[in-house]
């Protein structure tokens, strides 16, 4: 889960367990399976976390981050995930 990834560790998005319409705002901002995500910093007092998504900064709440299935970028290298 993306929410558990420590800061500065790059991961690759594998699957999105987000319901129906909710997934679109994410997709439209480049949060699409295969994209590279890296938690950059946590906002204060348990607020959203800022991620670098293919190099651009996007803030996500924890509840969404915990619906995003990721795998370490190193591990993913070479494996092409089609789903």
């Amino acid at each position: 889960m993306l929410a558990e990834v420590p800061l500065e560790e790059e991961v690759v998005l594998v699957r999105m367990d987000v319901a129906g319409e909710d997934v679109e705002p994410l997709l439209e901002r480049g949060i699409v399976p295969g994209c590279r995500l890296c938690p950059v910093r946590h906002a204060p007092v348990g607020g959203p976390t800022v991620y670098s998504v293919d190099g651009c900064l996007v803030a996500l709440r924890r509840e969404i981050a915990s619906c995003l299935c990721v795998r370490s970028a190193l591990e993913a290298a070479g494996v092409l995930d089609s789903n």
Partner: protein, 632 residues
């Protein structure tokens, strides 16, 4: 011949520089800021070229055309030629941010393939270059099958290829070839114009495929993403720091309010003095008679009492402009998200609610950037509870009349300031309570996920800040000029009728206005208010601040120098502390502003929300005022 001008639309994702390009091309002053979702309405302008003119339309930034949000709907309608005029566009400029090309190329796909001549413009060339990124416009053009230009949208010198695209449209030249229908398999546009009933399920796969194509394109065009910005990284380390983040946030908010309260005073005093002196001067040069009485005591005093608040409004907007332009506003939204989440809202509501402290109207418009429809409605609904600047004239008058000056917290906080802050807090508490209530009842539901893009920090430009302030000043003065002028004149006439048998003006309580006031009196008697205030409450429906001018007219203040002082004394005679507080509470809650109601109607698409809101706020105001009166 307006109709023969080719119509060109400017579309693309939010915060990519569309309005900046629009301004550079048309010479207009469309609002620009470093915050996604600034443009909320289409705005058209004319581009003058050697061989003719082109009509250019700036659209709100969108990530797609699924018509999920109002912004997307506006963009979609314009692209499909479904706007009022029903004109199909003759050309399309797709604006992408070259520093975020990987995701923006995905967005571009939904705009390509509409079968209109298209130009793709990659803005922020300067930033891409500075941060060591690169892209081959010519290669990308070959891949996409449309012209591609790499520009700095702020520098007209780099816009040559955009001009030649327009020239080609005018002369039907070679560059204006229609965009081939590539990769539209997934385009929502290809579906029926009405909202797609059920979207094809594997929307994720669709975007995955899009991403693959976008990456392929990027690779073919030799795209090298820019390094991350060092400045942004450093500043974010502070703005989003665990401890310093909230400190900076609260510091900024405190600074804004401190400035409005304390530092605006000299400016306001100066404005007031100018109005007073010019009034006295006019009084001196005009012949005695009804015209002088109407113009000086009615119009000049009424309009003047409102113009005094211009400095305050401008200062608030100055700060908002700085925060937006620098990129801090997006961070503030992230920091505020946690807080807003508590009351059922989200970080994006922060900007509308902050601007509502100046005026609810731009606030309600800017709520379009709140993507979740329920959150947007809740934001709109509570915005009028924020203490807008139109309430200040009323608060200032009543506080000065009924709250004796004196310290509360030593030299830091005076008693009058404390009451004023209390009124601000009252509005805020009502807003929070209402939001929580709404989100548990009418607007219950799972919200869309909160996703906030954080643009890099940029130096605010003096030009865009100045534009912003000039626009706000114009709107404010026009309002003061029109509404308040009209109300004052009508009131003045009503105090002069019916004429007495000998042709003089009647005593005020027998005038047409007095009679009307006495009709209202029973309703407000429990609040300890008399018919004069009743008239003031009715006229303040047009705009809150009107009550000050109205009372001035009714009390027939004849003083030549300081109108407010006389009005103050008259109020002290007619009201006690309880009814003054009741009136203050009434103003804190009631929705006395027709412009707000009108904007609400437009933004919510009907009378349902504005009428509900009007009734809700009126009931709350009446009960609150009644409670205040009974306690005191």
């Amino acid at each position: 011949m307006a109709d023969s001008r080719p119509l060109v639309l400017l579309a693309g994702p939010p915060n990519s520089g569309k309005s900046t390009l629009f301004n550079s091309l048309t010479g207009l002053r469309q609002r620009v800021a470093n915050y996604p979702g600034v443009t909320v309405e289409r705005r058209s302008g004319v581009v003058r070229l050697a061989s003719g003119r082109v009509e250019l339309v700036d659209l709100p930034g969108v990530h797609g055309l699924s018509s999920r949000s109002l912004d997307q709907l506006v963009a979609r309608r314009a692209l499909l030629g479904e706007m009022e005029g029903g004109r199909r566009p003759d050309g399309l400029v797709i604006l992408l941010d070259s520093t975020r090309l990987s995701s923006h190329l995905m967005v571009a796909e939904s705009f390509l393939g509409l079968g209109i001549p298209t130009l793709v413009v990659l803005a922020m060339a300067d930033e891409l270059d500075r941060r060591d990124g690169a892209v081959e416009a010519a290669e990308l053009s070959r891949e996409l099958g449309v012209e591609v230009a790499l520009v700095d949208a702020r520098d007209p010198g780099t816009l040559g290829s955009v001009h030649s695209f327009f020239e080609a449209l005018l002369t039907g030249g070679e560059e204006a070839r229609a965009c081939p229908a590539v990769a539209v398999a997934d385009s929502h546009v290809a579906q029926s114009p009405a909202r797609a009933p059920t979207r094809p399920l594997p929307v994720v796969d669709l975007f995955s495929a899009r991403r693959d194509r976008a990456r392929q394109l990027g690779r073919a065009a030799g795209y090298r993403a820019p390094r991350e910005s060092v400045v942004t990284n450093r500043l974010d380390a502070l703005a989003l720091h665990r401890i310093w983040g909230p400190v900076v946030f609260l510091g900024v908010v405190a600074l804004v309010f401190q400035t409005i309260f304390a530092w605006a005073m000299p400016l306001m005093d100066a404005t007031e003095a100018t109005i007073r002196i010019s009034g006295r001067y006019l009084h001196g040069i005009m012949p005695d008679g009804w015209l002088r009485s109407l113009l000086i005591e009615g119009v000049w005093a009424g309009v003047g009492s409102v113009i005094v608040f211009l400095p305050q409004i401008l200062i608030l907007f100055f700060f908002i402009a700085l925060m937006e332009d620098s990129g801090y506003m997006a961070r503030a939204a992230v920091v505020a998200d946690r807080l807003m989440h508590r009351v059922g809202l989200q970080g994006r509501s922060f900007l509308p609610l902050l601007s509502a402290y100046a005026c609810a109207i731009p606030a309600i418009m800017s709520a379009r950037a709140v993507e979740d429809e329920r959150d947007r409605l809740a934001t709109i609904f509570i915005a009028p509870f924020m203490t807008c600047s139109a309430r200040l004239p009323v608060y200032a008058l009543l506080i000065a009349a009924f709250v004796p000056a004196g310290p509360v917290l030593g030299p830091i906080l005076g008693r009058q300031a404390a009451v004023l802050i209390g009124l601000y807090a009252l509005g805020l508490v009502a807003a929070i309570g209402t939001a929580a209530l709404l989100k548990r009842t009418l607007l219950r539901g799972r919200p869309l996920p909160f996703v906030m893009e954080l643009p890099p920090y940029r130096m605010p430009s003096a030009r865009s800040v100045a534009t912003r302030l000039l626009d706000r000043a114009k709107v404010f003065l026009r309002r003061a000029g029109r509404i308040i002028l009209a109300v004052t004149v009508v009131l003045w006439v009503l105090t002069q009728l019916p004429r007495t048998p000998d042709g003089g003006s009647p005593p005020i309580d027998e005038s047409a206005l007095g009679r009307m006031g006495q009709l209202i009196e029973p309703a407000i008697e429990p609040l300890g208010l008399d018919w004069r205030i009743g008239i003031g409450l009715v006229t303040s429906l047009a705009a809150r601040e009107v009550i000050v001018g109205t009372l001035g007219t009714i009390y027939g203040v004849e003083a030549e120098d300081d109108t407010t002082l006389e009005l103050r004394a008259a109020l002290q005679r007619d009201m006690d502390l309880g009814s003054a507080v009741a009136l203050l509470v009434f103003f804190a809650f009631a929705l006395q502003c027709m412009s707000t109601v009108a904007v609400m109607r437009r933004e919510t698409g009907g009378w349902r929300w504005p009428s509900l809101q009007f009734a809700y706020m009126l009931v709350l105001a009446y009960l609150g005022a009644w409670a205040a009166k009974s306690i005191l």
